[in-house]
Homo-oligomer: 357 residues x 2
C-alpha cells in the first residue's frame, strides 16, 4: 500500500492507495461515528456501494445515490443531500463518505463542509481523475454561470483509494484521469514522465495503477501544501487547462472528458513553451502516446477568436492578456502572460498542426 | 470608539463600535478591493444604504437588497446572491459587506464564505442583536427542517458597528438585542448585570449603547476565542435558549422576537438554577426590569409535554435527557442534565408563576 501524508491549514490527512481497501473500509475510520452517510452516484454505486457497506459492517450506515454526471454538482442536489442528512438524523459526530469520482467528491465534500457548519468526511475515489480532486481540499458545486463557483476549502479526514475499483471505468474515463497524471509528471518529474510514455492505458496492473496514481498524488500534495489557496505555485496545476477549459466550455461537458481536452491543452502549452523559450519539449512524444491510447484529437473547426474569448471568461481577465502555465523544461513550469496577437498566431498554427497528423 | 480584538482559528479581526462610523466606512477597509458588494435588506437598506455608499465614495461599489426578515435566510436567496455577485463581476479580490441585522450578516457571510471558495467580508451590524451574530464566525442559512442547518465558520475581516443606526429600530428589536446583552452579563459579569438593570431601554444615549454593546462583544469574544467550535464553554451562550428556542419554534418566528423569548427562557433558567443549586438568583430583579421595558411575558397556554418535545428536537437529544445551561451564581454558568420528570415539574410551576404576576 502507498500512503501519502498531506498537510492542510486545518489538519493533516492521509491518502491510502492500494488493492481491495474497500473490503476493510472500517479500519480507515479515525474514530467512532454516530452514523455514516455514503454519497455515491448511480454508476459507481451500482458497482461498489454494496462492497463499501460490507466494509463498514457494524457501523450505522445509510446511503444516498445521485444521478451520475456533472449535472449533479448543482444547488438542488446540494440541498437534497442536506435534506437526506437531516432525515437520516446525522449529527455533528456523523461522517459523510464520498464513494465515486470527482463529481461525488466535490459535491459530498461541500455538503460535509456546510452540514451543521461542518462534519467529517472521507473520500473514497473510484475514478483515476479523482486522485486529483480528492487531494487539496477544494470542494464545490457549479453555478449556472460557471463551474465550481460555489464552494470552500474543506480537506477530508482521510482518502481511501481502492485501485481495484478502476477496472470498470470506461476507456474515456481512464484517458481523462491519466491526462492529469501526465500533467503532474510534466510540471514536476521528468523521469516519471518518461516512464508514463511507455505504458499502455488499457493494459495496466493494480500495481502500476497504485504506483502511478501514488506519484501523481505526491506531486499534487507537495504543490497544495506549498500553496493551499492558489496564490502562487498551485497555479502550475493549470498546465494544459487554459485551452482545455475553453474547449470544455465550448464542447459542453458531455462527449469529451475533462482530461481528454486537457491533453490537447497540454500539447498546445508545449508548442507555446517551445516558441517562448526557444527550446525543444516532448511534444511529439506526448502526441504519439495520446494517439496510441486513442485520445480524440479531432477538434471541430472553432474560430480562434471565440476560443480566446472563452479563455478570458474562464480566467476572468476580460480586457487583459491571458495567463498561461508554460514549461521552460519538463519539471520547470512558469506562469507567463501571452498577449492576444501572439495567442491568435499560436492557436492558428496549433489547430493546423493538429489536423495534419 | 470602543475596539475589541477577536482571535479566530484563521485570523484576528477587530470590532469597532462608535458613533457615525458609516460616514467614514472606507477607512475600515484593510486593503484595496477590486469591487465591493453591499448586501442589505429592505428595511436597513432604506435607512442606511445611501450613507454606506457615501462612506465608501471612490470605491467600486454595487448593492443588492433582500427582503427584510428571517425568510431570506434561504437556499434561494443564497443562490440569488451568488448570481448577483457573478453578474457584478466580483472576483477573488472583491469584498462582501453585510449592512443589516443578523439575517443579513448570517446570509451574506455564508455567501462570502462560499463565493469562489471564500472572499473577504465585513460586518456592518445595524441591530443590537447583531452584536451577537457578528462576532464568533458563525454564518448560515436555514433549512426547511431547521434553523442554521447549512453554514460554516467564516470570521469577518472587520466588524464596523455604528451605534447611531440603532435609533430607528423598532422597540421589540431593541428588546431582542438587549436580552442577549443581559444574557452575556448573567453568565459572565455581575456588576455589568446590575448596571443593566438600571437602564431604560427606550432612553439610551449613543455612549450607553456603545459601552454596553462593547461589553457584550467583549464577553462573547472571550468565550468564542476559548471555544470556537462549541465543544465546551461556548455552550454557555445558550443560557436562556433551551426554553427560548422551543418557544420560538412553537410561535413561528414572527410576532415575538428571538430575544424576547430568550428573556422568558432566562427567567426559567434562573428558577431552575435556584432549585438545583439551592440558591437565590436575581429572578425578581430581571422580571421587573423586563416588565418595565415592555417585554411580552404573556405566553399562550402550551402543553408542557409539547414544549419538552420541542426542546429535544432543537438539541437533537431524542430519548435522552435535556442539557440546560444553569447558573450557580451570576457569572458562574454550568451545563446540567435535567431529566424529563423534573423538567415537567419546573415548566408547570414556571408557567404558573409567569401568569400570576
Ligand atoms: N476538487 C478538485 O480539486 C478537483 C480537481 C479536478 C477535478 N475536479 C472535479 O471532478 C469532476 C470530474 O471528476 P471525474 O472525472 O471523476 O467525474 P465523475 O465523478 O463524473 O466520474 C466519471 C464517470 O465515471 C463513473 N464512474 C465513477 N467511478 C466508476 C467506476 N469505478 N467504474 C465505472 N464507472 C465509474 C461516474 O458515474 C461518471 O459517469 C469535475 O466536476 C471536476 O470539476 C475537482
Ligand atoms: N451567527 C450567530 O452567531 C448568530 C447569533 C445570534 C443570532 N443569529 C441570527 O441572527 C438573526 C436575527 O438577527 P436580528 O435580530 O438582527 O434580525 P434581523 O436581521 O431580521 O433584523 C430585525 C429587523 O430589524 C430590521 N432592521 C435592521 N436594522 C435596522 C435599523 N437600523 N433600523 C430599523 N430596522 C432595522 C430588519 O430589517 C428586520 O426587520 C437570526 O437569523 C439568528 O439566527 C446569528
Ligand atoms: Zn484538470
Ligand atoms: Zn440568541
Amino acid at each position: 500500500m502507498n500512503v501519502t501524508k498531506v498537510r492542510s491549514s486545518t489538519n493533516t490527512y492521509k491518502v491510502y492507495i492500494g488493492e481491495g481497501l474497500l473490503e476493510d473500509l472500517k479500519s480507515y475510520l479515525p474514530k467512532k461515528y454516530t452514523s455514516i452517510m455514503i454519497v455515491t452516484d448511480s454508476m459507481a454505486g451500482s458497482y461498489y456501494l454494496d462492497k463499501a457497506k460490507k466494509g463498514l459492517a457494524g457501523e450505522k450506515v445509510v446511503a444516498t445515490t445521485i444521478p451520475a454526471g456533472e449535472k449533479s454538482k448543482s444547488i438542488q442536489t446540494f440541498y437534497n443531500l442536506h435534506t437526506d442528512a437531516l432525515n437520516y438524523g446525522l449529527d455533528r459526530q456523523s461522517l459523510i463518505l464520498a464513494l465515486g469520482g470527482g463529481v461525488v467528491g466535490d459535491l459530498a465534500g461541500f455538503v460535509a463542509a456546510t452540514y451543521m457548519r461542518g462534519i467529517d468526511f472521507i473520500q473514497v475515489p473510484t475514478t483515476i481523475l479523482a486522485h486529483d480532486s480528492s487531494v487539496g481540499g477544494k470542494v464545490a458545486i457549479n453555478h449556472e454561470q460557471g463551474k465550481n463557483m460555489i464552494g470552500s476549502f474543506y480537506p477530508p479526514i482521510n482518502v481511501v483509494y481502492d485501485v481495484s475499483t478502476l477496472f470498470t471505468l470506461e476507456r474515456k474515463e481512464i484517458r481523462s484521469g491519466y491526462a492529469e497524471i501526465a500533467k503532474e509528471a510534466l510540471i514536476a518529474d521528468r523521469i516519471f514522465f518518461q516512464s508514463l510514455m511507455e505504458i499502455d492505458l488499457f493494459d495496466l496492473s493494480n500495481d502500476q495503477l497504485a504506483s502511478q496514481i501514488g506519484r501523481g498524488v505526491e506531486i499534487k500534495a507537495s504543490i497544495v501544501e506549498a500553496d493551499e489557496r492558489e496564490s502562487g505555485v498551485r497555479k502550475h496545476l493549470n498546465f494544459g487547462h487554459t485551452l482545455g477549459h475553453a474547449l470544455e466550455s465550448m464542447l459542453g461537458y458531455g462527449e469529451w472528458t475533462h482530461g481528454e481536452l486537457v491533453a490537447i491543452g497540454m500539447l498546445f502549452a508545449l508548442r507555446v513553451s517551445e516558441d517562448v523559450f526557444g527550446t525543444t519539449l516532448p511534444y511529439t512524444q506526448l502526441h504519439s502516446w495520446l494517439r496510441k491510447n486513442d485520445y480524440p484529437l479531432n477538434l471541430p473547426d472553432f474560430e480562434v477568436q471565440q476560443i480566446i474569448e472563452k479563455m478570458k471568461i474562464d480566467k476572468k481577465t476580460i480586457g487583459r492578456s491571458i495567463q498561461m502555465v508554460l514549461l521552460r523544461d519538463v519539471g520547470a513550469p512558469v506562469t507567463v502572460q501571452v498577449d492576444d496577437n501572439d495567442m491568435v498566431r499560436y492557436l492558428k498554427s496549433f489547430m493546423n498542426d493538429l489536423k495534419k497528423i
